[in-house]
């Protein structure tokens, strides 16, 4: 199977964020970056799908869109076992999912590519839009299943599970298809040290990203307000009525 996995390079989720002086972006100075968590699950799934095929002809191509440093994320994917990388170069990753989807679709849908499957994370851990997958699929005219938590492929068709609030949905689709992957499907492996050395020899092509015109832009970014301290409304059973009143009238959660 020929599988494309789209990866986003995002700030490490344990980072402490500050807002850049332009007030519309995160200050990247001193931030550590890594593959977006959900994209890691997508990559691991792709690796397992091809391993299960037992050495048949297969290729895993990893794609990432972004500045120069994005190539490091691609090489991490190569060190985990992907075969080659495509870097779609741009100075800043736009906020607008459609602008990104247009660049990805232009690359993935180009003649002669013949992907069986395109995988990416359910959403990016930084912007959290969850739009790029469905939009890319729409441009390509491919079936799209989002937030896949289980997958089986057979004779040009696929069955996937989606974990929803309180129940699981089973869907069927035909290949080629674009799937966005939820956590838990396959915990990403660590690269081996040999894999890290081997990744140096795998090809990474870099070309300019054919980004669409952004139709959505960020106007302002603010850190959440500092949490204020709790309040003790009383002690023992006598405090319950007052607590209930506050939860109803003040916090409006009852």
């Amino acid at each position: 199977m020929k599988i494309a996995v789209c990866l986003k390079r995002v700030p490490d989720t344990e980072s402490r964020f500050t807002i850049a002086p332009d007030r519309v972006s995160v200050d990247t100075a001193g931030l550590k970056f890594d593959m977006s968590d959900f994209d890691g699950y997508a990559l691991e799934l792709a690796l397992r799908l091809n391993e299960q095929q037992g050495g048949g002809p297969g290729e895993i191509v990893v794609l990432s869109l972004g500045p120069e440093g994005t190539q490091e994320t691609l090489r991490k994917a190569l060190s985990m076992g992907a075969d080659r990388g495509i870097h779609l170069a741009c100075e800043v990753v736009p906020f607008d999912g459609l602008a990104i989807a247009e660049a990805l679709a232009a690359e993935l849908g180009a003649g002669g590519q013949n992907y069986d499957l395109i995988l990416m994370g359910r959403n990016a851990t930084d912007t959290g839009n969850a739009t790029v997958g469905p939009m890319t699929a729409a441009i390509l005219g491919w079936p799209c299943v989002t937030a896949v938590s289980w997958l089986e492929l057979k004779e040009g068709k696929g069955t996937a599970h989606r974990e929803l609030e309180g129940f699981t949905e089973t869907v069927e689709f035909r290949l080629p298809a674009l799937l966005t992957i939820d956590e838990g499907i396959a915990r990403p492996r660590l690269p081996s040290l040999k894999g890290i050395m081997a990744a140096k020899k795998k090809p990474v092509d870099s070309r300019p990203a054919a980004l669409g015109e952004p139709r959505v832009t960020v106007q302002a970014m603010e850190l959440p307000p500092e949490r204020t301290g709790g309040r003790i409304v009383g002690e023992g059973p006598e405090a319950v009525p007052e607590l209930a009143r506050l939860l109803r009238d003040e916090a409006k959660v009852l």
């Binding site: 090489r75 081996s192 040999k194 890290i196 050395m197």
Partner: protein, 392 residues
């Protein structure tokens, strides 16, 4: 929040992408596999041998040896970073990897025949065999050239007799590299290395009990009584005490890096604790005495990082000297001991508990201070280098 390393001087910028990837990978492995078990292993006095396949799969065993023998073929800076990350977990685990890589695989690679290399190195890299290194004897520690273990040549091979002590991995090893004199007791030039499968008749190892340090590592005494070996058990290119000493240079190089890992673990723990622990109505980190402690630790760790990075670059360029390794081992292990002690003190009563890491590191580092050339011996090696006069 997981462990955060120290990079006050932006030394990361001096590392290649692969070097950083290797470090981050081993760091993640330690977080995932070693940290959850190390406290219990330490209390139980047990080496976590169930982690060996994982270490092998990751590729840390003999990671700086060539790929043709199933090794990762990393440079020496990447190798050093591996040692740093393993010792951030525990000195005992780093000791295991040091012995396997620098003291067993390195001599087989450096002094072995093609057949020996092809047979043993892939098996050791893959964790199918565990190695140990038999040099030190009960009465010959800092002076290994005085050893009394003998290898007598017979018409069809060799017969080894003697006792080795303080042997890391000794009781679990499947193969030992044993150093012995093939000539007269005072013939230092006759020291040769032998590959000894530990299943050979006459080989016996027993764990040294009662250790208060390196409790998650096996340390053993080895008895060799008429151990008969075939002719091809000898490492053909060994000759004299300089052969085992060159192995120690490799291991000490890794220790100089490893000590930084232990120090960073203690610093990381101390910083978090200082910010969280409230006493007299404010975090103890807001007091001058703890700030001095932390400033001292950060300074010494940063200096140590500069030392090993340049040492690694020299080693990769092929121009590193054993005396430079002595300086780094001496400085960095001593530095780590100081960091661990100060971190333990900053942690107050909590600092004596195994759920915190500083006292475990402190206890471990007393061994690291003493093994692979004691701190004092490295002082004398430097003294000899400076003055041209040997004091030992």
């Amino acid at each position: 929040m997981s462990f955060e390393g120290v990079d006050f001087y932006r030394l990361d910028g001096l590392l290649s992408e692969e070097e950083r990837a290797v470090r981050d990978t081993v760091r993640a492995w330690v977080d995932e596999h070693l940290m959850p078990v190390i406290g219990d292993c330490y209390i139980e006095g047990r080496f976590p041998k169930e982690l060996i396949p994982g270490l092998a799969q990751l590729g840390v065993l003999g990671a700086n040896l060539p790929e043709e023998y199933g090794c990762a073929g990393l440079n020496n800076v990447a190798y050093g970073l591996i040692m740093q990350e393993l010792e951030r977990g525990d000195s005992g685990i780093r000791s295991f990897a040091s012995v396997q890589g620098a003291l067993v695989m390195y001599p087989i690679h450096a002094f072995g025949s093609d057949e020996q290399k092809k047979h043993w190195l892939p098996r050791l890299a893959g964790g199918l065999e565990v190695g140990c290194f038999g040099l030190t004897e009960p009465d010959y520690g800092s002076n290994p050239a005085g050893m009394i273990t003998t290898a007598r040549e017979t018409k069809d091979g060799w017969v080894l007799n003697g006792t080795k002590m303080w042997i890391t991995n000794g009781s679990q090893a499947t193969v030992a590299v044993i150093w012995a004199k093939t000539g007269a007791p005072d013939d230092v030039a006759s020291i040769r290395g032998f590959i000894v499968p530990t299943s050979t008749r006459g080989y016996a190892a027993k764990d040294q009990k009662g250790k208060l340090s390196l409790r998650a590592s096996d340390t053993s005494e080895i008895h060799l009584e008429d151990v008969r070996l075939p002719k091809d058990a000898i490492l053909p290119k060994t000759g004299g005490i300089k052969s085992p000493l060159s192995c120690l240079t490799q291991a000490r190089y890794g220790i100089a890096w490893g000590a930084i890992g232990a120090a960073m673990a203690c610093y990381d723990e101390a910083v978090r604790y200082a910010k969280d622990r409230v006493m007299f109505g404010k975090p103890i980190g807001a007091t001058q005495i703890q700030q001095v402690r932390l400033a001292e630790m950060l300074t010494e760790i940063t200096k140590a990082q500069c030392l090993v990075l340049q040492l690694g670059r020299l080693k990769d360029a092929g121009s590193m000297t054993p005396q430079q390794v002595s300086l780094a081992k001496r400085n960095n292990v001593n530095m780590a001991c100081e960091c661990a002690r100060e971190a333990r003190r900053l942690l107050g009563a909590n600092g004596i508990l195994v759920e915190y890491h500083s006292m475990r590191h402190l206890a471990n580092l007393e061994s690291v201070y003493t093994y692979e050339g004691t701190h004092d011996m490295h002082s004398l090696i430097l003294g000899e280098q400076i003055t041209g006069l040997a004091a030992f």
